[in-house]
């Protein structure tokens, strides 16, 4: 059996050209390497080196051996990486969500119900991306804003979210009790960027609006609460509270009033039953 350390040492020698250089690279002594190469040669059963009195170099056999050794070492590295990745994925539940609110909803529940597991989450703009990720086991749980189709999928609706326009009370539109998105197309609008599918909705329904993008949430919150620009808010994100001197006007477009579906692979239904139980009690919880 030819052990890995021999292959590693051979490879180092083949890269360095001399035993002394390789010995420095590997932090071992020259004689140790010399011995190892002799041992390797013996184990292989064929000469691997051209030796002169104070020079040693790989012959054809040795070059082939070094090439193979590189492949084997690479494969060993790959094995470790793959197994560690598998292990990581086995102890992680990754949530893929179409919007930030479901992340805020589910991550605490997941952390509580699956204590000991790492909970990760990502927000993606398109449901297709999310479903593809579920397929590849990149995500184990999804939250979508439309009913998914697929024989392999299990899902339950668990909450709704309703978009509103938040305005200063002195804003011209603030007299309205309700409005459609097209009525504010062309306006300047403050927008937080990490909002998943909402972003696509805005680009689509407000093609002429001027968006002021902010990707820091705290900064966004300040400007939205104090500045002169209208911004979006929902009952879920606001938590029932509006900043002083602000008004929130419901938006009537169908697409702006969504139902969230919590999705998993059917084979995982049993595993995630505790999560779904929690979600069925979600309205009561969110009353708190």
């Amino acid at each position: 059996m030819i052990e890995m350390y021999l292959l590693e040492q051979l490879l180092a020698f083949s890269q360095c050209g001399t035993l002394s250089a390789a010995s420095e690279k590997l932090h071992v002594s020259q004689p140790a390497l010399s011995h190892s190469m002799q041992k390797l040669e013996e184990l292989m059963g064929v000469p691997l080196f051209e030796r002169t009195k104070n020079r040693i170099a790989l012959n054809e056999n040795g070059k082939l051996t070094a090439d193979c050794a590189a492949k084997i070492l690479e494969q060993e590295r790959e094995m470790i990486e793959r197994v560690r990745l598998l292990d990581q994925s086995r102890r992680t539940i990754t949530l893929g969500a179409c919007a930030p609110v479901p992340v805020a909803d589910l991550v605490p529940i997941l952390s509580r119900v699956y204590s000991g597991m790492t909970i990760a989450s990502e927000i993606r703009n398109s449901d297709e991306e999310l479903l593809a990720g579920l397929e590849k086991n990149q995500y184990q749980i999804l939250v979508l804003h439309e009913k998914p189709e697929g024989e392999e999928l299990y899902f339950e609706a668990y909450r709704e979210e309703h978009l509103m326009l938040q305005l200063p009370e002195n804003h011209p539109l603030s007299a309205k009790e309700q409005l459609y998105l097209q009525e504010i197309d062309g306006q300047n609008l403050l927008l937080y960027t990490k909002i998943g599918f909402w972003y696509e909705l805005c680009r689509q329904k407000l093609p002429n609006a001027h968006f002021l993008m902010m990707n820091e949430f705290d900064a966004f919150g300040e400007v939205a609460g104090a500045g002169a620009f209208p911004s979006f808010v929902t009952e879920a994100a606001a938590g029932g509270e509006l900043p002083e001197g602000r008004k929130a006007i419901p938006i009537l477009d169908e697409e702006a009033n969504v139902t969230y579906y919590c999705v998993c692979a059917k084979k995982d239904k049993k595993r995630f039953e505790p999560l779904y139980q929690e979600l069925r009690r979600f309205e009561k919880h969110s009353d708190r």
Copy 2:
């Protein structure tokens, strides 16, 4: 660094199911294996086993590791095999010949001129096969009975061979001084099988002859020298001597009188120059 012996032990365990069974298979003690698996687990950095108090089994991580281990061990085996094969080929000159006489000619010369090298030889019926073998480095030297074509090839003609029909003196045909193959088509003919291209020639020019095939040379020699059947002989094979009461009649067909060409790859011309020098003196040598 995860050493090979650990992977081998893991693989054995994965095949055997229990440490004790694996320990027998590997001729090591159970505790040794137990230790090794703990060490492997530590090196991988992730759990590989489901342990109950007196049972141990691979978990998902472990199964993946075992699969990878099998591949790595296989690759190690393959490396050794490939290098040994390369070494063998580096110290072997393999002659590919179209007939037995060139083998008898060249092998002694090669052995003398390239002492220390192993000399191997094969007889193939078709020149195409031989040329393909040269291409693949399966052969380093060829002897063909026709001039080869190819930019990469070097060759020299070195001798001729002339086919004759050997007969009992009382055979009806023995009166002839010379003949064409078609004159003996339909006869019973004794044939030694390992004669390379001659065999194809016979099948082609004597489609109606009845061949008595013999693949043991000694037995063939006896029957050919003593029996009632005609057989083929050449000046090269007979060495100038005919058995008592036999006659050899020259065959006039062009294909039955061949010139042998000694072929090598152009890149090897220098290496085989000593061989060609010997072959240029071949007529003198063969006079001995």
